[in-house]
């Protein structure tokens, strides 16, 4: 094992052991110096997680969050220099983390929080203008085969829990009052989308979520709408499209099988 690897392993080990061969410039105990450094590494990564996951932290309290994040950090050190996306795997970690099992919605809230950061940094894209949509309408026969491209920042989380309401309650003036009104185990789907520099979170009905997910996967307009209404009898196509158009989520439209002009 290389010195470098031994040093890195000792940083993340559960118990502090000073890697062999360390010396301190001023003759102080290298074990104590190393312990300080080790603690700073963990604390700064836990701080980074707390910054990305403020609602997750608020839901479990700072003490629980920092303890949980401390365990995560040890098994999931950063893999890139980009700290903004650090902790991408926290939601999956929470799902398997038994002490958090009494909050089954926690993982989905964490998922939503990371998607917001990702949306913030996603590429820009110009929304399709209304003239182009009118041109699509003029060629009604081919409308079912139209494929819509969606904004790079767009993402969805479908949850068995009220993740949007839980998240939104923490953005309210009075968090406790807003939280009291939330029914945690009602199903909700969140649409995350950046418009300008603002990352928005929308609560969308199941059918809209299915429809948008289908479009995202490259399924053409007709079948995407058909599958959504098969999955949710209450699917409102006009409302789903209205939301996408209004929020600038549709960035281009091409007829399936044809070369985009």
């Amino acid at each position: 094992m290389s010195d470098h690897q031994a040093f890195a392993d000792a940083l993340l080990a559960a118990e502090s052991t000073c890697p062999p061969g360390l010396t301190a410039w001023n003759g102080s105990d290298p074990g104590r110096r190393f312990a300080v450094y080790r603690n700073n590494v963990a604390a700064s990564l836990v701080d980074a997680l707390a910054e990305t996951y403020p609602v997750t932290q608020a839901l479990v309290g700072e003490e629980f969050f920092r303890a949980m994040a401390g365990l995560f950090v040890r098994t999931n050190p950063p893999r890139t220099r980009i700290l903004s996306f650090y902790g991408d795997g926290l939601a999956d970690f929470i799902e398997a983390f038994t002490p958090a099992a009494s909050l089954p919605y926690l993982a989905d809230v964490a998922r939503l929080e990371m998607l917001r950061v990702r949306a913030y940094h996603a590429e820009d894209a110009t929304p399709l203008d209304s003239g182009e949509i009118s041109r699509l309408l003029a060629d009604e026969g081919r409308l079912p085969q139209v494929c819509f491209d969606l904004h790079p920042s767009l993402a969805l989380v479908r949850s068995r829990h009220a993740l949007v309401s839980l998240w939104a309650a923490h953005q309210a003036e009075s968090v406790s009052a807003a939280l009291a009104a939330v029914v945690p185990d009602s199903r909700e789907a969140a649409l995350v989308l950046r418009s300008g520099l603002d990352v928005e979170v929308f609560l969308v009905p199941e059918g809209s979520a299915l429809f948008i997910m289908n479009l995202r996967q490259g399924i053409a307009f007709g079948p995407a709408a058909g599958l959504a209404s098969a999955g949710d009898a209450a699917f409102d196509l006009a409302a789903a499209l209205g939301l996408l158009i209004r929020s600038g989520a549709i960035t281009s439209a091409t007829i399936a099988g044809s070369i985009p002009s």
């Binding site: 701080d47 980074a48 997680l49 910054e51 990305t52 980009i82 700290l83 903004s84 996306f85 650090y86 902790g87 917001r116 950061v117 913030y120 940094h121 209304s130 949509i133 009118s134 699509l136 309408l137 009604e140 026969g141 081919r142 409308l143 079912p144 949007v164 998240w167 939104a168 953005q171 309210a172 003036e173 969140a190 990352v199 928005e200 979170v201 929308f202 609560l203 969308v204 307009f221 007709g222 079948p223 709408a225 058909g226 599958l227 209404s229 098969a230 196509l237 006009a238 409302a239 789903a240 499209l241 209205g242 939301l243 996408l244 158009i245 209004r246």
Partner: protein, 100 residues
């Protein structure tokens, strides 16, 4: 079961969606109705939601700095007192601070 929607019904929905999207009163299901408010953050308490490791949040050097913003509930910004703002209140755009 896979219901097939006719081209006509797709066109109808798309047309309706365009009308809805164009109307200012369109029902917003946006979950956080907040606005960027300049000049109301205390020193080091400005917002910036770019994730961990980014350097803009909490970097304002003075109280009520005119180019540092906070996210506040919609409609409250221009009612929040700002000691540096020429209007006396927070503003939706960054502004040049007046001498306190």
């Amino acid at each position: 079961m896979n219901k097939t929607l006719t081209a006509a019904s797709l066109a109808l929905a798309l047309g309706a969606a365009m009308t809805v999207a164009a109307s200012p009163a369109a029902a917003q299901n946006k979950m956080s109705d907040k606005e960027h408010c300049y000049g109301v953050a205390l020193k080091g308490k400005n917002d910036c939601k770019a994730g961990a490791g980014t350097s803009c949040a909490g970097t304002s050097m003075r109280d009520h700095q005119g180019n540092a913003w906070s996210l506040v509930p919609k409609g409250t910004c221009e009612k929040t007192v700002s000691s540096t703002s020429p209007t006396g209140y927070g503003q939706l755009q960054e502004f040049k601070e007046k001498k306190a």
